[in-house]
Amino acid sequence: MEMVQIAVVVVILLALVKPLGTYVYHVFSNEANWTDKVFGPFERLLYKFIGIKNRDGMSWKKYALSFIVTNLILTAAAYLLLRLQWIHLFNPNGMEGMEATLSFNTVISFITNTNLQHYSGESALSYFSQMAVIMMMMFTSAATGFSVAIAFIRGLTSRGQTIGHFFEDFVKAHTRIFLPASFVITLVLVALQVPQTLDPTLTVKTLEGAAQQIAIGPVASLESIKHLGTNGGGFFGVNSAHPFENPNPLTNVIEILSMWVLPAALPYTFGRFAKSKKQGWVIFSAMMVLFLVCLTTVYAAEKAGNPVFGGLGIDASQGSMEGKEVRFGIAGSALFTAVTTAATTGSVNNMHDTLTPIGGLVPMAEMMLNVVFGGKGVGLINMLMYAILAVFLCGLMVGRTPEFLGRKIEPREVKLIAVAILAHPFIILVPTALALLTDAGRAGITNPGFHGISQVLYEFASSAANNGSGFEGLGDNTTFWNISTGLVMLLGRYISIIAMLAVAGSLLRKQPVPETIGTFRTDNALFTGLLIGTVLLIGALTFMPAVALGPIAEYLTIR
C-alpha cells in the first residue's frame, strides 16, 4: 500500500513534466505565444512602472550584474526590516528586532533560496516580516534562480551575444509562474484547513484547564511559495511537520508535488530550447534514476527500523517512526525527505536528525550532489555542468575535440567549470573541519561521535547546496554558526551561478559544429549512464571519506 502511495505521486509528476515544461518554454522563449495575451498587458504596466523601455538581450556580464545588484538591494532592505521589526504593522504578537548575526544569516538564507532557519518563525518574526521579508524573498530568490537557469539554457542553445534580459525574465517568472501558481495552491491549502489569518496567537484553555498558546498566522500563502519556489523555510519552527503547515496526507502530496514539479519540468524546457526533446529527457532520466536510488535507499532504511530499538525490546515492525508524524507514515516521510533534499527545498515533514544512519545519508548525499532535480534552476544548471564535464572526459574517446550541443568545450569552459566543482566540496568540507576543530563550532554539536560529524556535515551541505533543511539537533543560533553558514550559503549560490553564466556567455559565441555520424551523441541512454557515472565519480567520491566517518561509521557500529 505504501509503495502505491509513492508510485502515484511519481506518476502524477511524470504526467506533469511535459505540459509544464512546455508552458515554461513558452513563457521564456520570447517568441509570441498565447501566454502573452493573458499576461502581456499587466507586464507592460510593470515594465512601464519600473522604467524598462527596451528589453533587448544582455551579455552574460550584464545579466549577472543585474541579478546580483537586484539581490543585493533586496537583501539590504530585508536586513533593515528584520532589525527594525518592532516598528512594523501586522505585529500583533509584539516581536522585537532580530539579533544582528541571526538577521545576517536569515537574509542570506532567504535571498540564496536556502531557507536555513536558525530562528523559529512563531517566536521571532512579526506577521509583516513573514510576508514582506520571508515571502518576498521566497518569490524573488526563486525567480532569480529560474531566470538564471533560463539564461544559461539560452547560452547553450542559441547563438549570438546575448542571453536574454534579466528584468524581463525576472518579471515573467513572477507574473506567469510563481504568482498564479501560489495563488491557486494557497486556496487549495486553505480549503484543506491550513490557516490564513492576521489574528494573533490564540490562547486556549485545555481540557486540564491549563492555558495553551497556539500560534497561527498567514500560513497558507507562505506554505505555497515555500514549496513552489523550493524555498523550504517554514512559518513555524518545525516546518511541514507542523499540523498547521501540513495537516494531512493530501496536503503532504500537494506540497511534495509543488516543490518537485518545476525542477522536474525544467529539463524538458531545456529540451525544447535545444530543439531536441530527447536531450531534455536524457537529463531528466539521469536525475530520475539518481532520485529513485535515493528514495529506495531512504525508504528501505527507515522501513527496516533502528536496530538499537530491537535490542531494547521495542516493537519496530512498522519501521523507524522516531521523529516522524504518524499521519504521514514511513512512505509519506521518506518521499518527502527524498524530494525536499533533491529539489533543495529544505522543508521537512519529519526530523532528519532521527533518520536511521543510512536514511540520513540519503538527504545528505542529494545535497552533496546538488543535481538530483535541484533547486529552482540551479539543479538543472549543475546537471548540465556535469553533462559538459562528462562530454569533456569521455568525448575525447571518440577521437574528436569534445563538443556539447554542437559547441566545442575548450580551456575557458573547463576553467570555469573547474571553479564550480572546486567550490562545492571546499565550502562543505573546510567549514566542517573548522567547526569540528574549534570550540565555537563544537559548542553547537549535541551528539558525540559519528552522529556529531553527520550533524555538522549536514548543516554545511545544506547551506552549500542552498537546501536549507536542518539535521536539527544542532544548536545553531550562535555567532559561529550564523556567520559560517551565512558565508557558505553566499558562496554556494553565487560562485557556481556566475561561473556557469560565464560558460553560457562563452558557448554562446561559438560557431556550432555540425553533427555527423562521428559525433559523440548526448541524447541516448548511453549518455544518461555516463552522466550518472560522472556525477557519482566526480561529485560523490569527493565526500566518501567524510561520509565514511559520519553516517557510514554510525551505521556499521550500531548494526
Partner: protein, 680 residues
Amino acid sequence: MMTNNRQKRMLTADAVQRALKESLLKLNPVTMVKNPVMFVVEVCTVIVLLMTVFPGYFHSEDRIGFNLTVFLILLFTVLFANFAEALAEGRGKAQADSLKKTKQEVMANKLVEGGSINVIKSTELHRGDLVIASQGEMIPCDGEVVEGVASVDESAITGESAPVIKEAGGDFNSVTGGTRVVSDWIKIRVISEPGESFIDRMISLVEGAKRQKTPNEIALGTLLTSLTLIFLIVVVTLGPIAKFVGIELEVPVLIALLVCLIPTTIGGLLSAIGIAGMDRVAQYNVLAMSGKAVEAAGDINTMILDKTGTITFGNRMASEFVAVGSHVKSAELLNWAAISSLKDETPEGRSVLDYMKRNGLPFDTLGAEGGEFIPFRAVTRMSGIDLPDGRQVRKGAVDAVRNWVLSQGGIVPDDLTGKANVIASAGGTPLAVAVDKDVVGLIYLKDTVKPGMSERFEQLRQMGIKTIMCTGDNPLTAATIAKEAGVDGYIAESTPEDKIEVIRREQAEGKLVAMTGDGTNDAPALAQADVGIAMNSGTTAAKEAANMVDLDSDPSKIIEVVAIGKQLLMTRGALTTFSIANDIAKYFAIIPAMFMIVIPQMNALNVMKLGSPYSAILSALIFNAVIIPFLIPLAMKGVAYRPMSGSRLLGRNLLIYGLGGMLAPFIGIKLIDLVVHIWV
C-alpha cells in the same frame, strides 16, 4: 633513411638509458611545477622523506619502515612519470640526431656579380644569394630554381630513392638543402637565412624544443589540476574530522590517500601522449608544424582531395591506342607502341606493355633487338629507342614529338591535335608515338582509381568525414571518377579559387576542412584550410602556407593523419577515464584501512579482503605507481583505432577503459596485497 630505423627506436638500450638519466633531471621542482599533479606527488615525497630522515621532529620513530616504503613508492611514481615523458622526448631526439647528420657542412658555388663563381661555406649564404649546383653536388641551401633543369635525389629528406625533376618556374622549382643533384645543373636563389632552413625547422620540431601545449591539453590539464585540488581539500580536512571521533591519522597515510586519489596515471602520461602523437605523425614522414594541427586533424569534417595522385594514380595507365593520319588502328601502331616502351621503365612505359598483355593484343618487337634506349629527359620530354637499322622511335608529349618530327622535316597529320585534345578533354593524357618523320598514333593514358580507395572513403564516411574531389576534368569525367572512387562530392574544372570557395563554405557551417596541395596557387587554400598538408615536392609558398608537410609527397596520406589525430585524442580520453575510474577501488582499499584500528566494523568495507591496514595502503600505492610504466606502451602507441561511428567507438572504449578502469585496480591491488601482506 628515417622511416627505416625509426620504428624500433622506442626501446633501444641507448634510448632507455638516456630516458633514465632524463627522468632524474626532471625531478627539478622548477620543471616539475609545470605538471601540477606530479608536483603534488613530489612535494608529498619530500614530506615523507623528511619524516623518515628526521623521525624525531615528527614523532614518527616507530613508523620508519613504513614511511621509508611510502617514500620509495612515491619517488618511483614520480620517476615513472618522468621516464614516460623522457622516453617520448627521446624518440624525437633520436630523429633529430639522424637529421643533423644530413646537415653536414657543404661548399656552395656562389655566383657573384660579373658572373664569376666564388666557393664559400653553405653557412655563409644569405637570402637572395644565387648559387649553382651541378651534377653530383649537394644543394647547399633551401631555394628556388631560377634557371636550368635537373633531377635531384631527395632521399635524405623523403626516403624516396627515385630522383625528382626540378626546373625553373612552375610548381617544381623548390629545392631543399642537403639533397643532391643527380644530373644536369640548376641555378638557385637562396630563400632562407642560415639556421632557418627546412632541415633546421624539422630538427627543432622533432626535438620538441618549441613544443606548445594544445588547447585540448590545456583544458584537460586544468581539469586534472582542479581534481587534484579537490582531493587535497578532501585529505586535508579529513584529519580534523577524524580527530573528532578520536582517530589520529598519520601524515604518510593521508598522503597515501591523496596520491592514490589524484589522477597521477593520466597526469604522469599526459605529455608523453602528446609527444608520442606528434612522433607518430613523423613516423609517417609527415612533418606537423604544431601539435594543434595534429589534434585539428582528428576533428576534420570535410576533406578536399585532389583527384590526381590522391584518388587516382595520375594520368599514367595506357588504356587505348588511337591511330592518326593515314594509319589505321592496326598491328603497326601496336608494334611501334610496344617497341617504344620496351625498355622504358617508367610507370607509363610499363603500363603500355601491361595493357597489351592483359588484353591479349598481338605485338611484335623483334625489330628492336639490339636497339639503343633513349631515356626520358626533362628537356626533351621524350623517350624512345634508336633501332639497329637506323630508324628512330620516339614517344612523349604530343607537342614535343610534333616538334621532333617537324625538325626532321616530317609532316604532322592534321588530326593529331584534334584527337589529342579529345583525349585530354576526357581527362586523359595523350602520348604521341613517332617513327622518324612519321607520327603513327597516340597512346591514351587514362586515370585509374587506386585500388582500395572506395573502401577508404567508406571508412571516412563511418568516421563522419565527407570527401570532396577536386579535378581539372570536365564534369562528365569528374562524375565518372567520383562515382568509381565513391567520394561524396566533386568539383569539376576546379580552379584554386574554387577550392578556397569550398573551404569557406564548409567552414561557415562550422566544419573543419583538410586539404592537400603542392602548387603556389594552392597556397591560399592551404592557409585557409584547418589542416593543410603540403607536398614536399611542392613550392615553398605551399609549404609555408600549410601546417603539415608530407615528406613523401603522397597526398593520400591525409587519411592516416586524420586517424592519428583521432587516436591522439582518444588515447588522452581513454587514459583519463581509466585514471579516474581507478579511484573507486582505491577508496575501497584505503578508507577501511585508515579507520579500521579505531572502528573495527569498517572491515565491512574491505571488500577486497586485504591482509592488513598497512598492507592495503601500500598495495594501493604500489598499484598507483606501477600502472604508469604499464601504460607507457599504450601512451606511446595510442589506443587501437578502427574507423567506426562515434557511438560504437564510445561504447567500445567505455567498456575497455571505463569498466576496465573500475575493475583492474580491484584485481591489481588484491594481487599486490597477497605479496605485500607477507611482510606487513
